[in-house]
């Protein structure tokens, strides 16, 4: 027992060292930037109503937690549920669009158009349609996250090796078998790159929806602190948005690792 525990620990520190070897340049860069901003704001070159002092932001981070935890939970719930719903819908529609050309011909232009609508303008309309509250926010996240996943997966499905499909057909495979054994495994990387993009959008989409009246969370918090001139707290909420988006992004990578074991060892980046 003891030895397996220490072996596990050893493995963990080894893994940590491996991670550190990759991320230290980024960590160093961020640290330098923060120190630079601290110096610029301390010396008054940048006034605090333009950019707050990083040390004040750090303090706000701690001080604001009692309020922050509620708004984070609210925004996270909307972003997560919207993200997953968008993912499920996107997989379904990409499969249909791949299977039936007419579905693709009908919906593809429309899907592209939804992406060209400026989100800031369209969210108030969504709230007008669905009313105040969480559903409008949920729907906004779906609208934003649906596109990258659908397009990415669709192109993944279409890029599957045509020879392989022909081979399957000659061997008498039915469409369903081709889908299961060839298309889905081959297009999984494309699906996950779409999901990664959607994950980074989802929190921001929820925040935008809140500005238009779609429930209360980080977006409302940000607006209120900004207007009360509490920029340290406002920046703390911005950092939270970054952290949460990265967390979601990492979760997608984690799921990718678990669900596509055959790609372990292949380059994923």
């Amino acid at each position: 027992m003891q030895s397996s525990f220490s072996l596990g620990l050893l493995k963990l520190t080894k893994a940590a060292r491996r991670v550190w070897r990759r991320i230290w340049p980024a960590v160093l860069l961020v640290a330098v930037i923060i120190i630079l901003i601290q110096w610029l704001t301390d010396s008054g070159v940048i006034r605090h109503f333009v950019l707050p002092r990083p040390s004040d932001v750090a303090m706000a981070f701690v001080r604001e937690w009692p309020v922050m935890k509620h708004v984070i939970l609210s925004t996270m719930k909307a972003a997560l549920s919207g993200f997953w719903a968008a993912a499920a819908l996107a997989v379904l529609s990409a499969l249909l669009m791949d299977r039936f050309l007419w579905v693709s011909d009908a919906f593809y232009p429309l899907i592209v158009i939804t992406q060209t609508l400026p989100t800031l303008v369209i969210t108030p309309v969504i709230v007008l349609l669905f009313g105040y509250g969480d559903f409008a926010r949920f729907f906004t996240v779906i609208l934003v996250c649906f596109f990258p996943v659908t397009i990415s997966l669709l192109h993944g499905l279409r890029a599957v090796d045509a020879d392989l499909i022909r081979l399957m057909r000659t061997m008498g495979a039915r469409e369903r078998a081709i889908l299961y054994h060839v298309k889905i495994p081959a297009s999984a990387p494309a699906l996950f790159s779409g999901l990664k993009i959607a994950a980074t959008y989802s929190i921001m989409a929820a925040v935008l929806a809140e500005w238009a009246g779609g429930g209360e969370g980080l977006g409302i918090y940000m607006l209120r602190t900004k207007r009360a001139f509490r920029f340290d707290a406002m920046f703390a909420s911005i950092i939270w948005i970054v952290v949460l988006s990265l967390l979601l992004y990492q979760t997608v990578i984690g799921i990718e690792k678990v669900t596509t074991p055959w790609r372990r060892g292949q380059a994923r980046r």
């Binding site: 309020v67 997953w84 719903a85 709230v127 495994p185 509490r230």
Partner: protein, 332 residues
């Protein structure tokens, strides 16, 4: 072996669907009470303090009203017009503009929150802007509306200044002080909020109130409702205004309590700023009017005419449809 990941994937999709369906659950109905939404025009602030205090003190409950405040700057007038919220807040110019728009948005003002306009053009003292004449050659940090330019023009013409000599930009800085420090010389602010912030930040400004010109002393903000609510539930409007008037009257008497009730709803705000702002507004809610909420038809008529003259309407309107004075509790 190859289908293993697929099965896992299918399971995941199933879990997601469960998550989605739980997210879509709807709220319950309320028994016995009128459930009413109030659409705020901005982040909760001292313009709203009477509403929050009225709720906290149970004045709405006494009138069998269960009130919920919802906030968004982007679509509050449309939300009230479409009855997604029965009541809301807006400025007089927004009510008029909504009614005179191509969309004929049917909102109606039912009470004035503050008797006189508290907005104006502010500039840091070092820019030396003491009268509208000094706007010449300076940079104005605007919101991109026709209305503010017309107001600016009216103020400047009064003193014989040349409006075309003002450089106009759209504000890109996120707040008044940052805008003054980085891009412009003056901007349109509400003294009760941005003015208070400047006092708090020790940022000396010169302030030219627009109410110096009678026609520009319009109501901002007013409480609004929609034509449907007035037609179908006039009793609700009356009860709502009774409780609201009580709330504002109490807020005037107990500014600290008003701030506490605001902070309870919006803990992100700054209590010191709120109290300062509340004290500033205290004598201005009712001012020289006989009771809270009173509106003078002449204010509506002359400002509407001014807006029409400055081509701010898509089509002419009957200004008397834009407000309704019959619901106010006149005994104070």
């Amino acid at each position: 072996m190859k289908t293993q990941p697929l099965r896992r994937f299918a399971l995941m999709v199933l879990v997601l669907l469960c998550l989605i369906s739980s997210a879509c659950r709807r709220a319950d109905e309320h028994g016995g009470m009128d459930r009413v939404r109030f659409a705020l025009d901005w982040t909760p602030n001292t313009n709203h303090s009477g509403l929050y205090l009225a709720r906290e003190r149970g004045f709405y409950q006494d009138e069998s009203i269960d009130i919920e405040f919802v906030e968004s700057d982007m679509n509050f007038i449309e939300m009230v017009a479409s009855d997604a919220a029965a009541f809301g807040m807006a400025a007089q110019e927004q009510v008029l503009q909504a009614r005179a728009s191509m969309a004929n948005i049917p909102v109606v003002a039912i009470a004035a929150v503050i008797q006189h306009n508290t907005s104006g053009f502010a500039s840091p003292v070092d820019r030396g802007i003491k009268s509208p004449r000094d706007f010449e050659g300076k940079t104005y940090s605007g919101w991109g509306t026709e209305l503010e330019l017309s107001i600016l023009k009216t103020l400047m013409e009064q003193t014989g200044a040349d409006f075309d000599a003002v450089k106009i930009i759209n504000q890109s800085a996120g707040n008044f002080i940052a805008s003054m420090e980085t891009e412009a010389d003056f901007a349109w602010i509400y003294y009760g909020w941005d003015g208070m912030i400047c006092e708090q930040e020790d940022y000396p400004i010169h302030f030219i109130p627009i109410n110096a010109i009678e026609v520009l002393d319009f109501y901002s903000p007013v409480i609004i409702t929609n034509e449907k609510t007035i037609r179908e539930r006039p009793d609700l409007v009356r009860r709502f205004l009774k409780a609201t008037a009580q709330g504002y009257t109490d807020a005037i008497m107990h500014p600290e309590d008003a701030v506490v009730s605001l902070m309870r709803e919006a803990p992100e705000l700054d209590p010191v700023l709120l109290l300062q702002s509340q004290r500033y507004l205290n004598e201005r809610y009712i001012d020289n009017a006989p009771y809270w909420g009173a509106m003078d038809p002449r204010v509506w008529a002359r400002f509407s005419t001014w807006m029409q003259e400055h081509e701010l309407f898509d089509h002419p309107i009957d200004v008397e449809d834009a407000y309704d004075l019959s619901f106010l509790p006149k005994d104070g």
